[in-house]
């Protein structure tokens, strides 16, 4: 019969909605309240030093809204006013300098879109399929348009003549929070594309992402993107801080560990269908979609397999891949209602191909914790539900 939603007069078509200013800064409508960051409580001792996950299974496009972009804090998200903000450059520079926030606004600035991925993203999956949802397996990532000053501009303002030969020099960066999360960055990267950013997606950074100023280290692990950035020191060597020795190092099968594994390898994941985004419409037209990214540059191709890697089809990129930014891919297909073992495989402009978990384990063993960029498999069942699995 006729649809009452069409044939009957609805309240929303007869009454009035909210006036302007009902929400001076808007939140998503209540019907979307399941699209939120979530954490895995058993992962860490305390939410103050923990991580949560971007709901990538429910987003589309490539830009991550700040309000649901994953958070990682080491000593909690602090409140630091612009007026109280100071940025120091010291060490091997001609003149150690202090900048206020207002000073930073007077330097020439740039806009760049970059992904930020935690080195531990997918880390819980090394030893086996564990968490059932793209949000939990791959949600330690976000992708924003940053407004900021090239770090090299600030280093040049302080003067690098005092540093002598720059080839073996480093930059040590730290935050204003209690963890300070100091990290060492080689000078060539510091002078290449690192930004001192104060806006994301057009608005001020959120508290949880380092308001008022954070570092953006394109393509490199998220831990280096120091939040509440307060100090930049030019040094002779790497400081070898806690977060670059005891953490964020990759232990191989023989017990030795890789350090300075900064670049995030090319990676992709099908975000829908996936365990949190099952197929509800039955067989027929189906949009398979996901995200791909590479710390080495632009994504050039994404292939999708429905049979666990036996055969592959090349997906459609929504836009040409951008340097060190998320790329959205689509496979517009027809589902026959049968089981699928869905996988995606990214390639970047250097020719790197996202490996299988088996290939990674052959080189790295199962204890790496960090930098797991393996191909992910979702088992989509005839009822449309999906599960995180591993395949032979």
């Amino acid at each position: 019969g006729p649809d009452p939603l069409i044939t009957e007069k609805q309240d929303w078509a007869t009454g009035l909605g909210d006036g302007v200013d009902a929400t001076p800064y808007g939140l998503p409508i209540k019907y979307e309240d399941d699209v939120v960051r979530r954490n895995v409580p058993w992962l860490t001792a305390d939410p103050i030093s923990s991580i949560n996950f971007t709901p990538i299974h429910a987003l589309d496009g490539t830009i991550t809204p700040q309000g649901c972009a994953f958070e990682r804090h080491h000593s909690g998200a602090i409140e630091l006013k612009k007026e109280d903000y100071r940025l120091m450059i010291n060490g091997l520079v001609d003149t150690p300098l202090v900048f206020s926030y207002a000073d930073l606004e007077r330097f020439p600035r740039e806009n760049r879109v970059y992904f930020c991925e935690c080195a531990a993203n997918t880390g819980m999956e090394w030893a086996g399929a564990q968490l059932n949802g793209a949000q939990f397996t791959h949600g330690m990532i976000h992708n924003m348009e940053y407004t900021g000053i090239p770090l090299r501009t600030l280093l040049e303002e302080a003067g690098l003549a005092a540093a002598g030969d720059l080839k073996d020099k480093w930059v040590y960066v730290e935050g204003a929070d209690a963890s300070s999360n100091g990290r060492s960055i080689p000078m060539d990267k510091a002078l290449d594309d690192v930004l001192v950013a104060f806006k994301a997606n057009g608005e001020a950074l959120r508290k949880e992402h380092g308001y008022p100023v954070r570092l953006v280290v394109p393509g490199w692990e998220g831990n280096m993107w120091v939040k509440w950035l307060r100090r930049i020191e030019v040094t002779e060597a790497a400081v070898e801080s806690r977060e670059e020795t005891s953490k964020y190092t990759d232990t191989l099968a023989d017990g030795t560990s890789r350090k300075w594994t900064w670049v995030m390898d090319a990676k992709s994941v099908v975000t829908s269908p996936s365990p949190q985004s099952p197929i509800r419409h039955g067989k027929g037209p189906l949009v398979i979609t996901g995200l791909a990214w590479s710390g080495r540059g632009a994504i050039t191709r994404v292939d999708v397999s429905k049979d666990g890697g036996k055969t592959w089809e090349t997906a459609r990129l929504a836009q040409e891949g951008q340097n060190k930014a998320l790329t959205r891919f689509y496979l517009d297909t027809t589902w026959d209602g049968e089981d699928m073992l869905l996988q995606s495989r990214a390639m970047d402009e250097t020719g790197y191909v996202q490996p299988t978990k088996h290939q990674l384990r052959e080189v790295r063993g199962e204890n790496s914790v960090y930098h797991n960029n393996c191909i992910q498999t979702w088992h989509v069942k005839p009822n449309g539900e999906a599960e995180n699995v591993e395949v032979s």
Partner: protein, 404 residues
């Protein structure tokens, strides 16, 4: 969109040419002109996949402007300002402050400031990091990474304790206390004897067992085979599912909207390594509820939950028969009692003053204090960061009510 994919070369040189620079002049056209060069390099890399030309880090150092102070922005940092923030200790021990501390002093300081999370013997509590043990386990299935088994440089330990610990009260320790704690952690790892004194002079004498255990990122060579044209058809024979996430069932419950939540329970112990720590062991909630002493006004189920939460408080506070003051005052009868009046405990002046003004620990005040102690009273001696969850605070207050 055109310049979003452009790498960032040579801007300083551009500025030099067009000085004086106004903000609107930045990104100069030269940026865009460089883009095809970068792309061409990338294409070349793709065709010569077996060598190291796909390296991400630029192999040539970008040129740097020699014209310092071009914008004249910022001000010179004063020496005392640099000294106040410049704390990093290098692996060779440079920048260490003058000072010293011995193992036994470290034992006491550690018990007071560190043991509530890291355990009396640095063995770790709940999910908090273990600082001792694990030597020889790095090639095992689940390696135990501690200061003794994993950390390559002692400077890292000293630097981190001095800048970031104790959790919730960072930078409160004297340099001598940091030396002492570091000495105690070394002792807990059997790396020094009990008469050892760590100082800026003995610092470099300590040998860290895993100092040689690290190699610099070698993915470009050991994983060079990942740069290869991939298979598209007949890539495998049969495909079998070898593992399912539902077997472990450790995904947080999301409600009925998803397909993940049939059976929930505590995570099993043999699951994969988490980024930071092992899964929580759910002992707390199972412990027996405390004996009822104050009758019907106490929600015993909530109090039982509070007993679990109170584990966080136990290293500093005692309750029950024979409770004594330790780092913090004993807490028998605290709910409703006058603030700052436990006999024999030395409160901060401000805390004592609240009690002298006649204020008592109402449930509201306790709730506020436990949420963020230093917001409630800036100069409280309690270094605990606070209980973020309202439910935890209410539970622990209910638990304290059982000790009237």
């Amino acid at each position: 969109a055109a310049n979003a994919s452009v790498d960032y070369p040579e801007v300083a040189v551009t500025h030099q040419k067009s000085a004086p620079v106004a903000a609107a002049d930045a990104p100069a056209p030269q940026d865009e002109a460089d883009a095809p060069v970068r792309l061409a390099e990338a294409h070349q890399a793709r065709t010569t996949a077996s060598d190291a030309s796909h390296i991400t880090v630029p192999t040539t150092m970008p040129e740097v402007s020699t014209e310092a102070g071009r914008f004249g922005l910022g001000r010179a940092a004063l020496p005392e300002e640099v000294a106040a923030w410049n704390h990093d200790i290098m692996p060779d021990g440079s920048n260490l402050p003058v000072g010293s501390g011995d193992v036994w002093t470290g034992d006491e300081v550690f018990a007071e400031h560190c043991a509530s999370c890291h355990g009396d013997f640095a063995e770790g509590r709940d999910n908090w990091p273990k600082l001792a043990g694990g030597q020889g386990t790095l090639a095992d299935k689940d390696p135990l990474k501690t200061v003794g088994s994993y950390w390559p440089y002692l400077s890292t330990t000293f630097d981190y304790i001095r800048r970031s610990m104790p959790f919730g009260n960072a930078q409160s320790l004297s340099d001598d206390d940091v030396y002492a704690i570091t000495a105690y952690i070394l002792y807990s790892n059997d790396l020094v004897d009990d008469d050892f004194v760590l100082s800026n002079e003995t610092f470099m004498d300590v040998e860290m067992p895993n100092a040689e255990g690290f190699i610099v990122d070698d993915r470009e060579t050991t994983e060079a085979h990942f740069w290869a044209e991939p298979c598209m058809e007949n890539c495998k024979g049969s495909v079998e599912i070898t593992m399912r996430a539902s077997v472990l069932d450790v995904t947080p419950d999301e409600g009925e909207d998803t397909a993940t939540s049939e059976e929930t329970g505590p995570p099993v112990e043999e699951q994969a390594a988490a980024p930071q720590a092992e899964p929580v062991q759910q002992a707390a909630a199972e412990e027996a509820a405390p004996e009822a002493q104050a009758g019907a006004s106490i929600d015993m189920a909530l109090a039982a939950e509070g007993e679990g939460v109170f584990k966080k408080c136990k290293s500093c506070h005692q309750v029950g028969d024979g409770a004594k003051n330790r780092t913090g005052p004993m807490l028998n009868g605290v709910v409703g009692a006058t603030i700052g009046q436990v006999e024999g405990f030395k409160y901060s002046n401000d805390m004592a003053a609240l009690g002298e003004a006649g204020r008592s620990w109402t449930a509201e005040d306790l709730n506020a204090f436990l949420e963020k102690p230093k917001d409630f009273l800036k100069k409280t001696k309690m270094s605990f960061a606070g209980l973020r969850k309202e439910e935890d605070r209410l539970a622990v207050i209910e638990y304290l009510k059982t000790f009237q």
